[in-house]
Amino acid sequence: MTIRIGMLSFAHMHAYSYAACLKQIPGVELVGIADDDPARGQEMARRFGTRFLASAEALLDEKLDGVILCAENARHRSLTELAAPHTPHILCEKPIATTLADAQAMIETSAAHGARLQIAFPVRFSPPVQRLKAVLDEGALGRIYSVKATNHGRMPGGWFVDKALSGGGAVIDHTVHVIDLLRWFWNTEVTEVYAEIGYSLLHPDLGIDDAGMLSFNLATGAYGTLDTSWSRPTSYPTWGDVKLEVLGEKGAAKVDAFNQHLAVYSDQTGRGEWVNWGSNIDLGLIRNFVDTIATGREPFITGYDGLKALEVALAAYRSAETGLPVSLPLGST
């Protein structure tokens, strides 16, 4: 049985990687690509050996088993509402949306049409992170005191710095991956967030937040911090990092999810870069999405997971506005 998957928009760069993953999984057909930027969509269709469809509706008419949404954050809701009546499995790029109301609407629309909404949190598929989860599950560290995390990146530019499309800068972009990991590790929620946020701090005149330092409590009793900053310059040898240090009563654990790399220097490019040789985490995510379709089991990462991660980012913005810690869950926004 062939599993038929379509892709809606290549606005988010992860779409390139997801398409490449789809092409390597036996039994999967990349049925077509729709994109409101036709030049980009046509080029991607050529690159990945599939069809370009002139509209999202035309793609969704293809009786897809699943669709992957990599549009700008603010468009996730409208595309989910378009897809849910036609397509039983939706994988949406993170963050789920730019507001809690949109996220809630996406969850409700999907449920009403019997479509399963999943959110792309590929770091859950990092083998070093999965091993850390296993160590934590064994209880090896005892009571957990704290977790110190970073999800640094380069400033991505483009629509990522246009608040109307992205919902925010570094904080909304890089809060959700790590918060999702913590919720998954301990089956817990963030109960309070305090945040210092920098606007145009590292990139003059950027007009959006490019630095975020979150301090939070978890319902487990642990506290922690998360640095979401776009603090890696273009000359940095890699895009960024996901690092966590967990301190417990019986010991400590450190994970650096992308620290399997070769350092490569070439005078042809004029700089050094780190080339990752670790397992492809996007392939893990896409295999999991395909497996969910094939088996009909419950999704590993749900729309609700996406909403709860987004809520922490929104709380961080609110904290920076008020100068005070913000309790979660947030009231209606």
Partner: protein, 350 residues
Amino acid sequence: MKRVGIVGAGVIGTWHAARWRQLPVELAGFYDVVAGATAKAVEEFGGRAYESLDTMLAAVDVVDVCTPTSCHQAPVLAAAAAGKDVVCEKPLARHLSDAEEMIAACQSANVRLFVAQVVRFFREFSQAKAILDSGRLGHPGLIRTVRGGSPPFIPPSGGDEGGERSWFADFEQSGGVIMDLSIHDIDFARWCFGDVERVFARGLTDADAQLHSHALIVLRFRNGAIGHVEGSWADPPGRFRTLFEIAGDQGLIEFDGLAPAPLTVTLKANARRMNNEQAISVPGAESPLHPTDDPYYRELEHFLNCLENGDEFLVSPQDGLEAVRISLAAIESIRTGLPIYLDGFEEEAA
């Protein structure tokens, strides 16, 4: 489904067994001259314990030879005679003439012979090779490698009372650190830079330092490139070292296996138990991969794919033979104090 039989139920045999279990083959079982070794492997991985090599050969399609180095030849020849395809653990053989005979026997019996030079299937190494081949480094110039750890001769539990030493400690069986460890990097360097013209090496021999083996090997390739290979079974206790760098006239690749691991777990209870020296080598330093990215899985999967499609192996029997020849030449260089030219190099009759 191919039926696979493993000869030699030691460390590598059980590593291979674990991967065969994940692949679409039937693990038929194990044969080992050491009584009791097979029972343990069968208990863990299934299949049956064969009482003789012949009974195993009659029941399988593929023979995976995981015996000590000096014991590769006999089962490979037997497998060829029985018409079975063969995986042979590296080094192909302890002596050149043995390796040549094994290759000839497999050729004339028309069976496939795959030499398990697994380093070519480590992602950090295969990715470096791909970057080199992409031309980003320009013209190849230098390669340096390190592979080393503390001596594997004595089981961690025991002292060095007689009988507890492993076959690695016996130079006649293992060929020492050069034939057992450095041969990985010699093969990798030759894969990257092509054939070797000459080799010069210095190192410890058994007479110099009992229970330690170490070598610094200098290679000159036919294309003019230069190599340096360090192998060590003389390190103090700590994390096993794997490093390499490849330099061209326009670029450089560096890999340091001792860089902080992707995952480290330090437990207070362990630290208290350990003395200072051991506390440095945190047992919880890990570099995990998805199971299908594991190098032993990848090499055996590659072997099966090539059998099915009729493709050439990434490691040809000749590659296995050349790795043995260069390793033996390095040993000869230590013995004579002279550079050894590979062209026409033949081992002196033992």
